[in-house]
């Protein structure tokens, strides 16, 4: 590996296109004869459509068609209930997309959508998650396939016998992914073949779903996703836009552009479920935990089951001989929740890492020391060895860099003018996994190389990182390597999700490049004009991986200042130190980590889906009312990493960076707020009235 591109900072390859406005996203390809779609949301929460009157919409000049369950092309019912769109009159939640207007212009489509008349037969609905909801049940498994409950030892007895006990319930609200680019698709049919430009996190899966839905061979569908304006989980699986656009393009026999509106991103594309989490920790007076229990409640829809794996984080994070985790779910008349950046770990870590802080206070020991004392030697869940575990290294390095050492642990002790100042810490972990993928590598007669894999760069820097990795695997300068990604015609690969992208894709690419080098070593004479290509797949290798606990780790350090009069919280400083295996490109790695941490600030202080029970829908469904962190909310934020070599992961030794930055971040902020003010906020977000209104607020 003399080339040594891996580990070197490199600006992202598509940077010049992105800063000149020439990078094309899903609905930005030039097309003749294009039409525009506009989706129509249901106004009822639960019931059936009894009548659709498209005539007022069709009377709008420029409107070409109104698609609905009565006239839309038929889809296969066996693919995925979420995608069985415009096929039957049932309404499962308010905002469900029940019709689509297609028109010659955006303006006509929008006006047409306003004019579609729909009558409903409605039934009573239940849309609010409560800890004692009569519909609570135990799902068979939790996302993606973890056991629902786990238990070891005798939690109840050990908790009862513990010298120090924490028993607290934490709540998180519904969070909405809100990538800046909405779910958007351009679809066109030609000679029975479907071509879509789509905004997603993995077009191999979109291609497969479309083929099945429309009952056509996979190779009759091509999905191009060259540039994607973020997803954060919400584009990890095919969603409504791509199906609706494909239906419409078939119906009007012309290309259709469809972008969901911002408002339509608060429901039909998924969101992070609200959670209710009870955490119990029982320890001795020195903080050694004997008993740990995490009971999590979340919601799903009546359409399909999504069970957030909220308590899974607690299974492997800290040592304790007696432990239990449970998940319960309620089916409500709401949209189906789905992946949002670190599903499970993100809300779960908020609860557990807050509870750890409470335990540290109760024991009178430093919260970093508490975590060090409860560091496991093997995975407490399965008993497997850790491939590497550098949580303590992150905590220690972070403490030094942050200046944790001279902290006065008393809450509310530090005042600077109108500000109460406090600091907080939290741990973080996220699984380091890989999915089977395929790739090809080609040596070209001109001395260049072409590597191909259907990876997706949703802003992670994957394109650049894979290019660096391929160059090293080929042992050539990266300038000689061209990479192609983002097209379902390329070798199939898994989605950009679960922090598995780079690990999975680089594995296949590395194998293809290594094999190509071997072949070139035995090749004599000049290469044929099309070059020499080898293909590789990692399915067998990944299946043969030995069982081990593979996780990335991190530690968040936060300083907040809280206005003593108003309760306004500002995050003055945030430092994340991570153990993420090998870092391929420090430039894009840092961006991804601080991006996750920034979303953590947003989660802790700003974001909250507010449900109106009467209408069963979130009332704050735009950026004016659903607040995400803005430029002025992020004052000083830094991410760094400890050196980590882990040979039990994948050929490149990467652990993934996409989610670890958000895990634990909200807890660190809540812990800092408690240190600043003495007020423990157990229900996010930390809004000012929860502080200013509290009797213990100074």
């Amino acid at each position: 590996m003399s080339a040594g591109a891996v580990g070197r900072a490199h600006p992202r390859l598509e940077g010049p296109e992105k800063v000149t406005g020439t990078a094309r996203y899903a609905v930005e390809y030039p097309l003749e004869d294009v039409t525009y779609g506009w989706a129509v949301p249901a106004a009822a929460v639960r019931g059936r459509i009894t009548r659709i009157d498209p005539d007022p919409a069709l009377a709008v000049p420029g409107v070409l068609a109104v698609l609905h369950h009565g006239n839309a092309p038929r889809l296969s019912p066996d693919v995925e209930p979420e995608l069985y769109l415009l096929q039957d009159p049932a309404v499962h939640y308010r905002g469900q997309l029940v019709a689509l207007v297609v028109a010659e212009s955006i303006e006509a489509a929008r006006e047409g959508a306003r004019q579609v008349r729909i009558d409903y037969d409605t039934e009573p609905h239940s849309t609010v998650l409560t800890a004692d909801h009569p519909g609570l049940y135990r799902p068979e498994k939790v996302n993606p396939s973890y056991p629902t409950d786990t238990s070891e030892g005798d939690f109840d007895a050990a908790f009862d016998a513990a010298e120090v006990r924490v028993d607290a319930t934490y709540r998180t609200p519904a969070y909405h992914n809100n990538p800046m680019e909405p779910h958007a698709t351009t679809a066109q049919w030609r000679d029975g073949r479907l071509l879509v430009h789509d905004s997603n996190q993995g077009s191999t899966a979109v291609q497969a779903a479309l083929a099945e839905l429309f009952g056509i061979p996979r190779d009759s569908v091509r999905v191009i996703s060259e540039h994607v304006g973020g997803g954060f989980g919400s584009k990890g699986y095919p969603k409504a836009a791509v199906v609706l656009a494909s239906l419409a393009a078939r119906q009007v026999d012309r290309p259709v552009r469809l972008a969901l509106t911002r408002q339509q991103l608060f429901g039909p594309i998924g969101y992070r479920t609200p959670t209710i989490q009870r955490v119990r920790l029982g320890s001795d007076a020195d903080g050694r935990i004997a008993a740990i229990c995490h009971d999590a409640i979340s919601q799903t829809s009546t359409i399909t089951e999504f069970a957030e794996q909220t308590a899974v984080y607690t299974r492997s994070m800290y040592a304790a001989p007696h432990r239990r985790t449970t998940h319960r779910l309620v089916r409500l008349d709401v949209p189906t929740p789905f992946w949002m950046r670190a599903p499970g770990e993100c809300p779960g870590a908020y609860a557990l890492e807050s509870a750890m802080d409470e335990l540290a206070s109760a024991c009178g020991i430093d919260p970093i020391e508490l975590r060090v004392r409860n560091e496991p030697t093997v995975d407490p869940d399965q008993g497997h060895p850790f491939s590497s575990r550098n949580l303590v290294a992150c905590l220690i390095r972070g403490a030094r860099r942050f200046g944790w050492g001279d902290r006065d642990p008393r809450p509310g002790a530090r005042r600077e003018g109108r500000w109460l100042v406090g600091t907080g810490v939290a741990g973080a972990s996220y699984p380091a996994r890989a999915r089977a993928s395929a790739a090809t590598a080609t040596a070209l007669p001109d001395g260049g190389y072409l590597v191909r894999i259907n990876a997706t760069d949703i802003g992670t820097g994957a394109r650049t990182a894979l290019w660096q990795i391929a160059a090293d695997a080929l042992d050539v300068p990266p300038e000689r390597v061209t990479i192609r990604i983002g097209d379902s015609d390329l070798p199939p690969a898994g989605v950009a999700g679960g922090s598995m992208g780079t690990a999975s894709w680089s594995w296949a690419l590395t194998r293809a490049c290594q094999e190509l080098r071997d072949r070139l070593g035995h090749h004599s004479g000049s290469l044929p004009p099309e070059g020499l290509t080898v293909a590789a797949s990692t399915a067998d290798e990944i299946r043969a991986q030995k069982p081990m606990a593979r996780y990335a780790y991190g530690a968040h350090f936060v300083e907040v200042r809280v206005d003593a009069e108003t309760g306004e919280v500002r995050v003055s400083r945030m430092l994340g130190v991570f153990a993420v295996g090998r870092v391929v490109n420090p430039t894009t790695a840092r961006s991804q980590l601080i991006g996750g941490m920034t979303m953590g600030i947003s989660m802790a202080l700003h974001e909250e889906g507010l449900l109106d029970e009467r209408y069963g829908d979130w009332v704050n469904h735009d950026f004016a009312t659903y607040h995400i962190a803005g430029c002025a909310d992020v004052e000083q934020i830094e991410a760094e990493w400890v050196a980590e070599e882990d040979s039990d992961l994948n050929p490149t030794g990467v652990k993934g960076l996409g989610e670890i930055g958000i895990v634990g971040s909200a807890a660190a902020i809540a812990n800092a707020v408690r240190h600043a003010t003495g007020v423990r906020v157990r229900d996010l977000p930390i809004r000012l009235e929860k502080l200013a209104g509290s009797s213990s607020f100074t």
């Binding site: 600006p11 992202r12 598509e14 940077g15 010049p16 296109e17 992105k18 800063v19 000149t20 406005g21 020439t22 990078a23 996203y25 930005e28 030039p30 498209p54 069709l58 000049p61 420029g62 070409l64 068609a65 698609l67 006239n71 028109a103 212009s105 303006e107 006509a108 809100n178 990538p179 800046m180 680019e181 540039h227 994607v228 304006g229 973020g230 954060f232 119906q251 509106t261 911002r262 949703i458 802003g459 430039t587 840092r590 961006s591 601080i594 991006g595 941490m597 920034t598 979303m599 735009d622 950026f623 004016a624 995400i628 803005g630 430029c631 002025a632 909310d633 992020v634 004052e635 000083q636």
Partner: protein
């Protein structure tokens, strides 16, 4: 279910108007639906896809362009109101064969991830740099009589209307500060 009214063309009636303005130095004459926003005009009629639609409601800043040199949200402006105006989009920020220093700084500082908010950030940043140079104060300017310095706090405040879900804010601030020649 084809439209029974036949032709979909709505040009030439009371629902549309002729308008002429300059985009990135080129004069453009168009007949547009009166409801068409500047953003949709750029994207759907002029092939300038740089300006992005993040919300269509003036809430995210991803559609920011410069109108007579001042930053505006192009999703909130009807194009037919812009007769004789001059508009600059992200496509007009670069020189003929190289990026502008601001664009170079965005690439060098990795001031974006997915890039979807980036054209809006860039146009907004261009506006901020000009506002600072002209000495316009902001809500966080302490001395309203002196020179306004491009501190991080000034830049953060002035860029607060451009949301970035990827969280590139610190790098955006660094890129703008670098371009402003500070530190």
């Amino acid at each position: 279910m084809q439209n029974r009214s036949g032709s979909a063309s709505i040009a030439g009636d009371e629902r549309s108007s002729r308008v002429a303005f300059t985009v990135n130095g080129d004069r453009r004459e168009l007949t547009l639906d009166n409801r068409t926003t500047l953003l949709d005009t750029l994207r759907e009629h002029l092939g300038l896809i740089g300006a992005k639609k993040g919300c269509d409601h003036g809430q995210c800043g991803s559609c920011t362009v410069l109108l007579e040199g001042r930053r505006v949200k192009s999703c909130l402006i009807f194009a037919v109101t812009l007769d004789d105006c001059s508009i600059t989009t992200v496509e007009g920020l670069a020189g003929p064969d190289r990026l502008s220093p601001l664009q170079e700084a965005f690439v060098a500082q990795d001031a974006f991830q997915c890039g979807y908010c980036t054209p809006g950030q860039l146009c907004s940043a261009r506006g901020v740099l000009d506002e600072l140079a002209e000495g316009w104060p902001s809500a966080v300017t302490e001395d309203l009589t002196g020179v306004v310095r491009p501190t991080d706090a000034e830049i953060r405040e002035r860029m607060a209307g451009n949301l970035c879900r990827c969280g590139a804010y610190p790098h955006i601030v660094a890129a703008i500060r670098e371009t402003a020649g500070e530190r």
